[in-house]
Amino acid sequence: MHIELRAGDFDPYAEVAGYQAKLAPGKYGASAVFVGSLRDFNEGERVTGMYLEHYPGMTEKHLDEICERAREKWRLLDGLVLHRTGDIKIGEAIVVVAIWSAHRGDALDACRFIIEDLKHQAPFWKKEQLPAGGRWVEKNTSGYAKQV
């Protein structure tokens, strides 16, 4: 698995495709990918940009531990976790989690597990830029949808 923090914009799908190209074809039957991108609205306010702070050293360590727990829980072949830091523009990718496995159940479950743990445990903090100034996001919302 490869885990990386990036200070600059990246194309999440090109990153996933590039990583997959290095894997042995025929072994993975399933890849599950989650991409989080910066929206231009949040909690009823217009958002014009974001600053993403992290704890150098602990953030990488925590992401390693999340991925290690996922590897213990499911049968995974490989994975890629990229997370932005610093100043982010509207529409840019904030995070990508990609998991390869022989079977889809493992890939889908592990991908979701990693993004949920990352959202609730990994030391990152978002400061939204609003028309009126900066606002620290206070809490991530639940990743489990209510059906309409």
Partner: protein, 77 residues
């Protein structure tokens, strides 16, 4: 004989501190370190504390050379 103290995000702005180095004294707990560094400012109820880059619960005693970090709930991803 020192403890490194770090603050992140809204707590960094609230305390006006990024990092502090304090003398180590035996038996100092996280909340005592907080009080010492931020001049008695109340500790937020939802604060997260890490010692040497691992989350800790309760009010652990710090060891010499520890790095103690205070931060608000995380909001990455």
């Amino acid at each position: 004989m020192a403890i490194k103290v770090k603050f992140f995000a809204s707590l960094r702005e609230l305390t006006g501190k990024n990092e502090a180095l304090i003398d180590y004294r035996e038996g100092m707990t996280a909340s005592q370190i907080w009080a010492l560094v931020v001049d008695g400012m109340d500790m937020p109820a939802d604060i997260m504390v890490a010692v040497n880059m691992e989350y800790v619960k309760g009010d652990p005693v710090a060891q010499d050379d520890d790095e103690v970090a205070f931060f608000p709930p995380v909001t990455g991803g």
